[in-house]
Amino acid sequence: MIMLRMPGLLPALVLALLLSPVSAQETPAGGPTDWKTPASAVELRNPYAGTENHGLAGKKLYQRYCSSCHGKDAGGAARIPALTSDKVRGANEGRLFWYVRNGNSRAGMPGWSRLPDQQIWQLVTFLQMVPEK
């Protein structure tokens, strides 16, 4: 009954929810060199390393899942790091895999464990093949 007696309350709540992102920005991600990954991650090996087909599949996955934040050309945005730098392209593949899978909620990077490991490796393959800018 509260909502029925206060007709403005519900629209106000919805509006507040929609506008809250303006002030609810995450701390900008520090970039790949700031990753804290377990030592064991370095030992993970990419089964698709250097495979063009899997790189293309990774590109498709990148456009689907990552481009809305990191940009269509992986060039990043104001508060979101570019993925075209040497730091990413030259990063250890195991650490890259671990970081994509687990994310870093403090830095605003979501984990992508919902994707099968194979698709995360395809993403890693693509990220290591992205031309430098």
Binding site: M1, I2, M3, L4, P7, L10, L13, V14, L17, L18, L19, S20, P21, V22, A24, Q25, E26, N53, H54, L56, A57, G58, K60, L61, Q63, R64, Y65, S67, S68, C69, K72, A77, R79, R101, N102, G103, N104, S105, R106, G108, M109, P110, G111, S113, R114, P116, D117, Q118, Q119, Q122
Partner: protein, 380 residues
């Protein structure tokens, strides 16, 4: 939806009670309990001012069109004069059109993608990505054993406030064949993920406030004991019984080799002095292909996820367990038919006497990534 023990009433025995407002006389063919309930309903109608003889709901309201727009608007329309009613209806249409126009503009302007959750009831530990907004509409058609079939619709807007905090608002309506429709309420849920990276098992805490009426058939979860006769009650009676509920869930979930396994423990409290009720939901699903193909495709296996859900009530604080509860088993299928959109499908089978024997559930989801930043850049 919590099914609680209440006395069912039908339009027929409500009519009978009109000649016996105290509900003390026994009427042939009607049980005293039903008679008493009908009398109570009559009193309730008087309280809300709809008891005048010959009172008729406007046809559009009886069909549920206005109730589906906004409860205060519908209430105002009910109490207004015919001239004002047209004006209010026009206002409501204009506002609905502008909202749809705004949403279409956003949809056209922003890259988007469909979500990956195949479940209808079970939650996994995956949150909305930060600053991503998701729209979903989930219709269900239910076929109860001894009552009219119903159509229920749930509109959902979800937003990733932080990578560890997702908030969602739901608006629900339902239509029962032969009785009409009603707006059935609003829910506001918040999910919090306490640990940032993946663990062997990943917990998420869930808090929801619901302002709904008893006509709600959205089946977002099932708690407490079941009362199949509740489905026989007329929708006009049910929609006048407003409930304010607090719902808490503990969600645990794990991804392993392409599979997701999730379990939810649900506790729900009607804030008007009712006991805590409990329920559960279990689910598992898997992508039909683990690696993606290099070519764009709609029907390739990587775009499908399939699995199953099992959910039901667990009684209340006074009688915890499976006795007299509704239980459901439901295969689930998700198809991401475009980068921007997903379709979910779930034939749902009631496996106890207290359940609706069969429901067909659908859902269309649309998600816009990084919506918050785009909204902010529009303002600059």
């Amino acid at each position: 939806m919590g099914l609680r023990g209440r006395i069912p009433a039908t339009p027929t025995n409500i009519g009978i009670s009109g000649s016996d407002p105290d509900g003390t006389k026994e009427v042939a063919g009607v049980s005293p309990l039903r008679h008493a309930y009908a009398a109570r309903s009559q009193r309730d109608r008087k309280r809300v001012g709809f008891s005048e003889p010959g009172y008729r709901f406007p046809r559009s309201v009886a069909r549920g069109r206005l109730h589906a727009s906004w409860p205060p608007v519908a209430e105002l329309v009910l109490r207004s004069q015919p001239g004002e009613r047209n004006c209010m209806r026009r206002l409501s249409q204009v506002s609905a059109h502008s909202t749809v126009g705004f949403l279409l503009l956003l949809v056209a302007a922003a890259p988007a993608r469909g979500d990956e959750k195949p479940y209808f009831v079970t939650y996994d530990h995956h949150m909305e990505e930060p600053r991503a907004i998701e729209f979903a509409y989930s219709p269900s058609i239910g076929f109860p054993k001894d009552a009219g079939k119903f159509y229920s619709g749930l509109f959902e807007v979800g937003y990733g406030l932080k990578s560890w905090w997702t908030t969602e608002v739901y608006l629900a309506h339902q239509y029962t064949w032969g009785q009409g429709g009603a707006f059935t309420g609003v829910r506001w849920e918040n999910r919090f993920r306490p640990f940032q990276s993946e663990h062997w098992i990943n917990p998420v805490l869930y808090v929801e406030y619901a302002h709904i009426n008893e006509a709600d058939r959205s089946f977002r979860d099932v708690v407490g004991h079941s009362d199949p006769e509740e489905l026989e009650e007329p929708i006009d009676e049910l929609k006048q019984e407003i409930e304010n509920e607090l719902e808490l869930k503990l969600i645990v979930s794990r991804d392993h080799k392409g599979w997701n396994i999730a379990g939810n423990f649900i506790s729900e409290k009607n804030l008007s002095n009712k006991p805590w009720e409990f329920g559960y939901a279990l689910g598992f699903d898997r992508a039909l292909a683990l690696a993606a193909s290099p070519n764009p495709c709609r029907l390739c296996r990587e775009n499908f996820r399939a699995g199953a859900e099992l959910y039901g009530g667990l009684g209340d604080v006074y009688a915890f367990g499976f006795r007299d509860t509704a239980q459901y088993l439901a295969p689930v299928l998700l198809w991401r038919f475009a980068d921007s959109m997903s379709l979910r499908l779930s034939p749902t089978f009631g496996i106890t006497d207290g359940s609706v024997p069969f429901m067909m559930r659908f859902s269309v989801l649309y998600e816009i990534g990084n919506f918050g930043s785009r909204l902010r850049s529009l303002g600059k």
